[in-house]
Amino acid sequence: MTQIKSLADLKALKGSIQEKMDTRAKGNREGLVQVKVAMATCGIAAGAKQVFDYFLTECEKRHIDIVLTQTGCMGYCHAEPTIEVTVPGKEPIVFGYVDTKKADEIIEKYIKNGELVEGIIPVNYESVKEH
C-alpha cells in the first residue's frame, strides 16, 4: 500500500476507487450485480455468514459473476439477515429474512431474471449523502 502524504494523494485515491465503484453501480454492460450482506454481530448471529458463503459458492457454481461484499448494520433488526442487491441500471433492493433458501430464490429469480421475490424491505431513511 502506498502512503497518503497529501490532500492530492487522498483525492487521487478517492477518484480511482470511485471510478471502480461506479462501473459496478451504474450498470454499464460489463457492470456486475452487487450483493452486500449486513454483517454486524447481530446479523451474523441471525445467519448472515451462511448466506454470504452461500452466495460465494453458489454464484461461482452457477457461473454468475457478482461483486459480493460484507457491510455493517443496515438497521432492520426485525428482518435479519438482510442483504442489498444492486442489479446494474436498477435501484438497490433490500431483502430481509434471507436464509439459504431465500438466497437461492434471489439468485434464480431476481439476479438472473429481474423477477422480484417476497421479503423486500423498503428503505425508509434518507442519508446525509443525498441531504
Partner: protein, 597 residues
Amino acid sequence: MAKYKMHLLVCGGTGCTASQSHNIVENLHAELKAQNLQDDVQVILTGCFGFCEKGPIVKVMPDNTFYTEVKPEDAKEIIAEHIIKGRKVTRLLYTDPENKEHISDSKHMGFYKKQLRIALRNCGFIDPENIDEYVANDGYAAVAKVLTEMTAEQVIEEVKLSGLRGRGGGGFPTGIKWEIASKNHADQKYVVCNADEGDPGAFMDRSILEGDPHSVIEAMTINGFAIGATKGLIYIRAEYPLAIHRLQIAIGQAREYGLLGKNIFGSGFDFDIELRYGAGAFVCGEETALIHSMEGLRGEPTFKPPFPAQSGYLGKPTNVNNVETYANIPIIILKGANWFNKIGTEKSKGTKVFALAGQINNVGLIEVPMGITLREVIYEIGGGIKNGRKFKAVQTGGPSGGCLTEKHLDTPIDYDNLIAAGSMMGSGGMVVMDDTSCMVSIAKFYLEFTVEESCGKCTPCRVGNKRLQEILEKITKGNGTMDDLDALRNLAAVIKDTALCGLGQTSPNPVLSTLDNFWEEYVEHVKDKKCSAGVCKSLMRYVIDPEHCVGCTACARNCPVNAISGEKKMPHIINTELCIKCGACIERCKFNAISIK
C-alpha cells in the same frame, strides 16, 4: 421464465395487512390477468414502508410512483390508467399537507423519510474492513481539511458552532469539552473514545464500530489535533469481539496509508490509536471510572473536579467522547457547522441513533433528527405496537432513564424535553411496552441491573439501591404497604442527591418516573394485591369456572404439583396454596374454563 417490465410493490406490513393489502394484491393479480399482462407486470408483497398512517401503500417500479391509502377496488384503475396508459392516478398520490401538491415520488416526501442517517451514513453501505470504500465515500477528507487548512481553534469553533452534544447520554456540548481540554497545557494529552456501551438493549455504538470504524478513527485524529493530543485510546468492552476485530483492521489500514502515525498529510502532526479492553462493567461508561480501568485500577469513579480535561488518563488532560459523538465529527467538518445546526431543535442539534426494541413491529436501529415525536418513531418508523395491542409506555435512557407514557407521545424528543418528562436521552435504548407490561416489575428489573452493576464505592448507591430493590420485590410479592410507596420516594430522592457518580445519581429514575406516571398501578399492587398486566406471579390466582368445566381431567393430569382435584365429569377446583402458577392447566383446557384472576 417471465421477464417483468414493471413491478407493483404492495406493503405487507402489519398495519397495511390489517387494511386489506392482501386483497389489493389479489385484485391486482386478477386485473393483470384480465388484461393479459401477468407476464409483464409482477405484483409483490413487501415489508413495512414505515408510512402506516397513509397505508396501504402501493409503489410502482421502475418509475417510483408512490400510491397511498389504496383500496382493493382501486386495483382496476391503477392497472388501466398507470400500467396500460402510463398516466398516474392522481387521486391516490400523496398530497403535501403544506402546499397541497400531489407528490408521486417518495424521494420527495419530507413526510415519508422520517429518518436521516448522519452517524450511520456508512453503516450497511460500505465494507468496514476495506479502507478504500471509506475513502471513496469522503473518508479522511475531513481530517485532511483540518490538518491542511484549519487551525486547532477553528476546529473547536466549528464543533462549538455545530451545537453537537455528547451522545453518550449526558449531552454535554462537545465543542466546549474540547475547548477546556485544549486550554489545559501538559507535555502529553490524550483523546479517549468511550465504547463501553452498557445499557441493556443498546447497540448503537457497536453498530457504528462494526459498520464504519474509520469514521471514529478519523474523528479521534481531528480531536487530537484540536486539543493538542498525539495519543488516542479506544476503551471497548471485550464482549464486542467483532467490533474489536474490525477496529484492529481499520487501525492497521490507516497506519499503512499513513493516516495514523507520524507527520499525517505532511502537516507535521503525529497521532496514533491503541485499544484498551474493558471487562464490561456498566460503571466504566462513567469517565473517571473508565480512566481508572484503563490505568489498570479498579473501575471506580472519583469525585469531579478534577475533570478528565484537567487530570485524566495518567494524570494528564484527557478528552473523552462517545462513539456516536465521534461519528458525527467528520461530516460536521466537511459540510460545516451551519449545515449541522439547522437539523434538530433549538438546544439539541443533529440526529440521534436509537435502538428501537420491545413490543413494536419493526424492531431496528434508527437514526432520527432531534425533535421528532415518540408517536412518529413508534407508529411510523416502528410500524406500531405488535399484535395491535395498546401502547403503554416507552423506556428511554436505560437504567438511568425513565418511562414516558401516552401523554408524552407528541413531545419532541431532545435532551431537555426528555429530562423535563422525567427520563433522559441516555445512550439511545428505546424499549416500547404494551399493556402486558407491569411497570412495577419494569422498575424492579432496572433496579436489579443497577444493584448488580453498582461498584460499591459509595453508600447511597451500594446500600440505597439494594433497599429500593427490596421494597419493589415486596410490592410485587403482594406484601407492600402504602408506607412503602412513601419510603420508595424518599429513598430515591436521597440516593439521587448523595450518590458519587452518574450511575448512582440516576439509578432511582426508573422508580421515580414509574411512581409519577403509573401511581395507580403501584396502588393496585399494594391495596388490591392485583397486577392487571398479569406479570406478578404472586398476585395471580388461577380459577376454574364451574359453569364451563366439563370435568375432562386434562388439567388435573397435567398439573405438575397436583394442585387440581375433582371427580370425572364434574367441575374441578384449583388449590391455590399448592398452585405454582405455571399456566400448564390453561394451555391444556379446551373449554376456556380456566382464567387468571
